[in-house]
């Protein structure tokens, strides 16, 4: 009996939906079930009052009312049960993507590192025949890296839907984090023949958020600015302080974004025409991820672009006044 009651009541408990699945209140099966209950009672009362006026025998009124109540009850229970199943299925899907992505990444890293090791050994004792083989080894390395990037991005996209992903918020000095990230980009910029110019304010600015995620967002923008730049071009990163927010601007000297592509820039899996030429390893997910992260931190993101001259991406984040 106890197990039976638990089985019936489990799908109706509300807070687990908020906690586990991040579903808004009005979509909680328990809320919908209660709403159906109110509709049930009101319709029973309505039929009772109508019946009292037009039907002479009270037993018939009672029977009709009971019948309608039972019918509505069964429907409402079926609706909430199926909602519950959908929620569970969605959770299983999210878990599946998470597990598969993790499991696929490990062997891929093994492959890539093994190839990198072979390449580095070949460089030491290079001969004419090795050069042709190295080209193929490089191709395998680039493609395994591309798969790893895709899996990493899929993992983040999958997690962006989980509220708990944004729960690890802390108060941290945003300027310090950005400076560290810029330092890591120096090598990439240099090897891409791009000059990195930074105008970052010196005083600490505190932000309440996930340090890791905001780093990902910033790095995605800078990586694109370097990757889509012209050879010998510049990337200017500036951080300016405003009374309630910090404004980050990343300007490149690339080709700019064609007019017809601008509205799709933040869409999942969208890759612009120059992406296939300049960033063949891209996944089409980085700007989508970046926008999600910034907006979930109550910030805004936008861009200005001129074809042939370049693009500037901007984002703002609310700051904590000390």
């Amino acid at each position: 009996m106890k197990r039976m009651t638990e089985k019936i009541l489990k799908p109706l408990s509300g807070f687990r939906y908020r906690k586990e699945f991040n579903i808004p209140f009005w979509q909680w099966p328990s809320f919908l079930f209660s709403l159906m209950g109110v509709i049930n009672v009101s319709s029973c009362l309505f039929f009772y009052l109508i019946g009292q006026r037009y039907i002479k025998k009270p037993e018939i009124v009672v029977l009709i009312t009971l019948g309608i109540a039972a019918f509505l009850f069964i429907i409402s229970y079926a609706v909430t049960r199926s909602l519950n199943n959908l929620v569970e299925l969605n959770k299983a899907k999210t878990e599946f993507i998470k597990i598969v992505s993790h499991q696929l990444r490990a062997p891929l890293t093994n492959i890539r590192w093994s190839i990198e090791f072979l390449i580095s050994r070949r460089r030491e004792r290079r001969s004419k025949d090795d050069l042709g083989e190295e080209e193929y080894l490089n191709m395998i390395r680039e493609n395994s890296k591309r798969l790893e990037n895709l899996l990493s991005d899929l993992l983040i996209v999958n997690r962006l839907k989980e509220e708990s992903f944004f729960k690890n918020k802390e108060k941290f000095n945003f300027i310090e984090t950005i400076k560290e990230a810029i330092k890591d980009f120096q090598y990439f910029a240099k090897s891409s023949d791009v000059e990195l110019i930074t105008r970052v304010i010196d005083k600490p600015v505190y932000v309440n958020g996930s340090r890791l995620l905001l780093e990902v967002a910033f790095e995605n923008i800078v990586r694109n600015a370097i990757g889509f730049n012209r050879p010998g071009g510049k990337v200017e990163i500036s951080l300016t302080y405003h009374p309630d927010q910090i404004l980050v601007a990343v300007k490149d000297e690339g080709k700019g974004i064609p007019k017809e592509e601008r509205k799709y820039i933040f869409q999942r899996f969208f890759r612009g025409s120059s992406a296939f030429e300049l960033q063949p390893q891209g996944t089409g997910l980085s700007l989508y991820i970046t926008k999600e992260i910034i907006t979930k931190h109550n910030g805004k993101i936008w861009f200005k672009t001129k074809e042939g001259l370049g693009t500037t991406f901007y984002f703002t984040l609310p700051i904590i006044k000390r």
Partner: protein, 123 residues
């Protein structure tokens, strides 16, 4: 010559990174599971430990906890080298005393060697 203890259950990674580090004049000793890793951290007295998290017998975070709570090994810098990148894992590892946390998929072997060199110099 600096000695590195590499605690990693993936033999392919152990071999590729291990051999590259050896060619860079490091002495590399390897452990294939968590328990052996803890034991070798005491016996080998390494200058640096590279530690994976998903390990047989003892999870990497437990290995880290044991290394950092033992006065004989708690001064050894530990670099976490894993493919797990959940914020909770990162936080927990740094809280337990890891020097840095690196996600394998985000690094090339050359970059890794640079990071390892830096950690050894900074001690």
């Amino acid at each position: 010559m600096a000695k590195i203890l590499f605690i990693e259950d993936e033999l392919a990674l152990q071999k590729s990174l291990g051999e590259l580090l050896s060619s860079q004049k490091f002495e590399v000793v390897s452990a294939i599971d968590g328990e052996t890793g803890v034991k070798m951290s005491l016996e080998e007295n390494p200058d640096l430990i590279l530690l994976d998290l998903i390990l047989p017998k003892l999870h990497g975070l437990q290995v880290l906890e044991r290394i950092k709570s033992d006065p004989r090994t708690n001064k050894i810098p530990v670099i976490i080298l894993t493919n797990l990148e959940g914020a909770k894992d990162v936080e927990k590892a740094l809280e337990l005393g890891a020097t840095t946390y690196l996600v394998k998929a985000n690094y090339d072997l050359d970059e890794l060697v640079q990071r390892i060199n830096k950690a050894i110099i900074e001690g």
